[in-house]
């Protein structure tokens, strides 16, 4: 009986792939894993330390918590403080610092902020509290969007009048394009995030591979997947090919989940989106379209803010693979998981948090 987890943590197999990788690596290469979940897995299993010296892993911007712009956090706090509001969010968002405080402090000060596992839980809360306005903080990449789309669709079917979304969805391919088009780009190959592709498939990535002449490997999250994804990417680099390949065949089909994509397109429209630390990336976000506009919290609460990001945090450069967390002067000094200055130190997928957790032993860099 396959369990789809333990089998893919087979240590000997991972070592064998890494040994093969040492055998085929002749030149220096920089590879970016887009997804913060993969960053954490790579560090947690120590795969980064077993790679040939010639291979540099760059950690990408694929952490929705980390890239949610500061003003969205401020808006979330403003909305959560309204006396008739129940503000629902995934747990990761509560400790992300806004301009002055985070959602957790707003909660401590009396705001009704609740952690939910699924957006459907927030809809249920709205049904149980008809005299309160219930707002869900809709963050996430393409992996999360189908769940949100279905929830809004249900809310419309049920004619809910007290349910809203504060939307901050982001899309991966426009971010890859922006990274590759940047003058200081160092990325020579990508590991694409398997779960994003489970939903979206990988046809868009095939186009990017062709356009930018860059290998992309759709990769899963277990140690075997990560080692294999890196191996396949390096093999392409050494051979001078630039295709999109799929390592994660057990979970990803080329066309993705078409039903999920259909509903996404019925509920959302593509918009320009600001990424925390990075700035606006054209056509890189989703907002509710005109058919579902009544569920938009920013309109309903008439909250419009523009805020400056603090200068001490270099998370934008970390998210673009330009700097490593160690290179930030605040890392492990003023900025720690208990007192984060930036979102990348908060999130379970943030690169700074991963370095702090897996690379610091007794306060020293490992």
């Amino acid at each position: 009986m396959i369990k789809y987890v333990s089998e893919f943590r087979n240590v000997q197999a991972v070592h064998k792939i890494l040994k093969d990788l040492h055998g085929i690596t002749k030149h220096s290469w920089s590879i970016m894993e887009i997804c913060g979940g993969q960053t954490h897995a790579l560090l947690r299993y120590g795969i980064d330390e077993l790679l040939p010296k010639k291979i540099t892993l760059l950690h990408g911007p694929g952490c929705p918590v980390c890239v949610t712009p500061l003003e969205k956090i401020d808006k979330a706090i403003y909305i959560a403080r309204q006396s008739d509001v129940i503000f629902c969010s995934f747990g990761d968002m509560l400790r992300v610092p806004g301009s002055h405080l985070d959602l957790l402090s707003a909660k401590a000060e009396g705001a009704d902020v609740r952690i939910v596992y699924s957006p459907m839980d927030a809809l249920k809360i709205a049904g149980e509290n008809p005299h309160r306005r219930v707002v869900f903080f809709a963050v996430g990449f393409e992996t999360t969007v189908p769940a949100i789309a279905m929830t809004v669709h249900r809310a419309a079917t049920l004619k809910m009048k007290n349910f809203y979304l504060l939307v901050s969805h982001v899309l991966v391919p426009p971010a890859i394009r922006a990274l590759l088009a940047a003058p200081d780009n160092r990325v020579q190959g990508f590991l694409a995030a398997g779960h994003v592709c489970t939903v979206m498939g990988y046809e868009e990535y095939i186009a990017i591979s062709k356009e930018f002449k860059i290998p992309i490997v759709v990769t899963g999250f277990e140690p075997y997947d990560l080692a294999m994804g890196i191996f396949m990417c390096v093999r392409q680099l050494e051979n001078g090919t630039f295709k999109t390949e799929n390592e994660y065949t057990r979970a990803v089909a080329r066309q993705g989940n078409v039903l999920a994509q259909d509903l996404m397109h019925r509920v959302f429209k593509v918009v320009d989106r600001k990424w925390r630390g990075i700035g606006v990336i054209p056509q890189s976000g989703l907002d509710l379209n005109e058919h579902y506009a009544e569920f938009d919290a920013e309109t309903a609460f008439n909250v419009h803010l523009e805020v400056q990001e603090p200068e001490e945090c270099i998370s934008g450069l970390v998210l673009q693979g330009v700097k490593k967390p160690f290179e930030c002067s605040e890392f492990a000094k003023r900025c720690t998981p208990d007192h984060p200055l930036g979102a990348t130190m908060v999130s379970t997928e943030g690169a700074c948090a991963a370095y702090y957790r897996y690379k610091m032993i007794d306060g020293d860099k490992k």
Binding site: I2, C35, Y117, S118, T144, M150, K243, E247, A251, N257
Partner: protein, 95 residues
């Protein structure tokens, strides 16, 4: 927060077209999961679940292929390993 985990469907509890639900076992923890996006999924299938929604049905054939690769590594059976790896590479290269 992007974590998606595999679990096995043990019961379909609601069959509405727009709201299909089922119970999914994640290594012993059973949760109700929305199965609307995987109408083909049935009891016994493994699905990848993210924030309460199943996003796909695992391709058992591909999984077995990879696992036979892994096991062959453990057995240090190089010849078999190469064959399996070639097969995996052929399948994964289909773009």
């Amino acid at each position: 927060m992007c974590l998606a985990i595999p679990g096995k469907i043990i019961q379909i509890t609601q069959q509405e077209k727009d709201n299909r639900l089922g119970k999914v076992n994640f290594a012993g923890v059973v949760k109700v999961v929305n199965l609307t996006y995987v109408p083909q999924a049935d009891v016994g299938d493994y699905v990848t679940v993210h924030v309460g929604f199943a996003l796909n049905v695992m391709d058992q054939h591909d999984a077995e292929l990879v696992i036979s690769h892994l096991n062959s590594v453990s057995e240090q059976n190089e010849a078999k390993l190469d064959k399996v790896r070639q097969r995996i590479q052929k399948r994964s290269g289909r773009s």
